[in-house]
């Protein structure tokens, strides 16, 4: 019998419950909790209010137009939307496999004494602020990419549109790479949780059939944890899409989109960060930047909802399925 339920029913019986000390405390907590609801409502309404000018002016061209001309009041944000999606895609392509590898190692392969400390070290990555990632990106990663990795990519794969251009180290590839590193703690931690939730009876079933450890992991563990891992990746995608400072500092800040990884670019978050103080208060320019923030907000919402549904589905699968 849940104490809280019993208490509630007793309380509802009294019409003046709110005036009791208990009632007042609950009301106080509820009031502070409602600040959260209030904040979300305010964020949405302020974003809408701030972007209305730009929405009226650009209409649908805002999301399908590629011309961003401040002086002529033409604001097409497609290059930035594309930039965000492109760099996030790279982050996922590189970061998710590494995260899954880390999760598999920690969950299935690491000896006991390694597990906790190593897991903790990986989590430390999450504690490093974005701006320091960016700073490191400018000074260390850029040099590494410009002098070793990108020329190699350019020479060998330069015929592909993805690798044309001059290797400078300040480009979408650098941004995607840093984002990949930044999502590793999130995606690997959730994947680990999800793998830990796989019942041991599944592992034993595979081993008893004469499977090697690798076969057991691919068949029994990953198969079971599939949707949870996918959910973790979606949440990682959410982080990558919203990342600002690190991306701003290494992406090269060019307001156009190209398919080449070696070209500089711009994301939704970075255009806002770079230009915020350039826009006059109340101007169409500022409204356009706010509208980009609105679009970013919307994308984040969708991504997070999908991610949480998928992780929830996997937990329900475990509880509902066998036995």
């Amino acid at each position: 019998m849940d104490v809280r339920n019993v208490y509630h029913r007793l309380k509802d019986a009294s019409r003046y419950a709110i005036l009791t000390p208990d009632g007042r405390f609950e009301l106080f907590c509820a009031a502070l909790a409602s600040a959260i609801i209030l904040i979300i409502i305010m964020i949405v309404s302020y974003l809408l209010e701030g972007s209305i000018q730009s929405i009226r002016s650009s209409g649908i061209d805002f999301v399908i137009g590629s011309r961003w001309d401040v002086n002529r009041d033409i604001f097409g944000a497609l290059p930035f939307i594309a930039g965000t999606l492109y760099t996030s895609a790279i982050a996922i392509l590189i970061g998710v496999p590494i995260s899954i590898g880390v999760a598999i190692y920690l969950s299935e392969m690491a000896p006991d004494w390694v597990r906790a400390p190593l897991g903790f070290v990986i989590e430390l990555l999450a504690a490093v602020p974005s701006v320091i990632f960016g700073f490191w990106g400018i000074f260390t990663l850029r040099g590494f990419l410009r002098d070793s990795v990108e020329p190699a990519l350019n020479d060998t794969l330069g015929f592909l549109p993805f690798f044309e251009g001059n290797p400078t180290g300040m480009d979408k590839f650098a941004a995607g790479l840093i984002l990949a590193i930044m999502i590793i703690p999130t995606v690997s931690a959730i994947s680990r949780e999800v793998m830990r939730a796989v019942p041991n009876s599944q592992r034993e079933a595979a081993l008893a059939l004469g499977a090697t450890k690798q076969e057991m992991i691919s068949g029994a563990v990953i198969g079971y944890a599939k949707s949870g891992i996918f959910g973790a990746s979606i949440l990682g995608l959410g982080r990558a899409v919203g990342e600002t400072m690190a991306v701003t500092m290494v992406i090269g800040n060019k307001n156009s989109f190209s398919w080449s990884l070696l070209d500089p670019g711009q994301t939704m978050a970075s255009i806002i960060a770079i230009n915020w103080w350039e826009a006059d208060s109340g101007s169409l320019y500022q409204s356009a930047l706010i509208e980009i923030g609105l679009v970013l907000f919307g994308i984040m919402l969708i991504i997070n909802v999908i991610g949480r549904i998928l992780v929830g589905k996997m937990i329900r699968l475990r509880e509902g399925a066998v036995g």
């Binding site: 104490v3 509630h8 000390p21 208990d22 007042r24 609950e26 907590c29 502070l32 909790a33 409602s34 600040a35 959260i36 904040i39 979300i40 305010m42 964020i43 302020y46 974003l47 701030g50 496999p97 590494i98 995260s99 590898g101 880390v102 598999i104 190692y105 392969m109 990986i122 430390l124 990555l125 504690a127 490093v128 602020p129 974005s130 320091i132 960016g134 700073f135 490191w136 400018i138 000074f139 260390t140 090697t212 690798q214 076969e215 992991i217 959410g238 899409v241 919203g242 990342e243 600002t244 500092m249 806002i272 960060a273 103080w277 208060s281 923030g293 970013l296 984040m300 919402l301 949480r308």
Partner: protein, 285 residues
């Protein structure tokens, strides 16, 4: 007779192990590189002057310090905490102890939404609310932005810690005639205090490094500030502005600031985990 090629399968097994280990290195190498870089380039900057002097002018050989930026960071963190921690803790208490209804569920859901907000969007909102039309960038606007980021972290850890408190503890207190609200505040909260304190400290560590929202709300000021209604310098914004500048002395200051910030944040993160090692290490606190 079913006979697979055992040699090949064992090879795949070894390969899988090697690849997994490689992934671990791929994750660890950037971390080590960042830490090394920051410490090697930043620690040499440390000196008494570094922590106390005013911000240096660009380009000159003039030594300077980050005193104002540290004070500025302290301001915004304190303002953010003053707003964010109470809201976070009490909303966490509500959802855990009283939240078994549509309101509690909505709060929980929206807290999750809040935690997924890009920090720059939070910055835009704080700007629109507190900067636009109110005279310009101020420290309290930055503090407010940071509080929005803190609330979900504190709320979630509070809620989870309280949910772990066994019901028998609540029942024991209620059975002794202690009113519900006192039970929650004194007994339940204190039982879950390890997790709550962890959440609070980790939220501080998180906002200490946030740059984007401050960039949009607090702006920057090269001077020492005493009022919170003015723009101020803060450490994360310093790293951004100085780090992307062409001036060597500024870049050095940025490394020093990064080193300090990283040490600060990592000490908080590591320290709080050590202190609350084990689920119910509340006896140590």
């Amino acid at each position: 007779m079913i006979y697979g090629n055992l040699k090949v399968r064992k090879l795949k097994d070894r390969l899988a192990y090697a690849i997994a280990l490689l992934c671990v290195f791929a994750a660890a190498v950037p971390l080590i590189s960042i830490l090394l870089d920051v410490l090697v380039k930043g620690l040499p900057q440390f000196s008494v002057e570094f922590f106390t002097s005013e911000l240096p002018s660009p380009g000159t050989g003039e030594p300077g310090g980050i005193g104002p930026a540290m004070i500025g960071s302290m301001y915004v963190i304190m303002i953010g905490s003053a707003i964010g921690i109470p809201i976070g803790i009490f909303s966490g208490i509500y959802v855990s102890e009283y939240g078994n209804n549509w309101f509690g569920r909505s709060v929980r859901f929206l807290t999750e939404v809040l935690s997924g907000l890009p920090s720059i969007v939070v910055g835009i909102f704080a700007f629109l609310l507190l900067v636009l039309g109110l005279g310009g960038p101020t420290a309290y606007a930055g503090g407010f932005a940071l509080s929005i980021i803190m609330v979900p972290v504190v709320s979630r850890s509070t809620e989870e810690s309280l949910k772990l408190v066994p019901n028998t503890i609540r029942e024991a207190s209620l059975a002794l005639g202690v009113p519900r609200w006192k039970t929650t505040l004194n007994v339940v909260l204190s039982h879950g205090r390890a997790g709550i304190i962890t959440g609070v400290i980790l939220s501080i560590a998180r906002i200490a490094g946030e740059s984007a929202p401050l960039l949009l709300t607090v702006g920057w000021s090269p001077f020492v500030q005493t009022s919170i209604s003015e723009p101020i310098s803060t450490m994360p914004v310093l790293i951004y502005l100085y780090g992307t500048s062409p001036y060597e002395n500024w870049i050095n200051v940025a490394w020093g600031t990064s080193a300090f910030l990283v040490i600060f944040i990592l000490s908080l993160s590591i320290g709080v985990r050590l202190l609350t090692r084990g689920k119910f290490a509340y006896s140590r606190l």
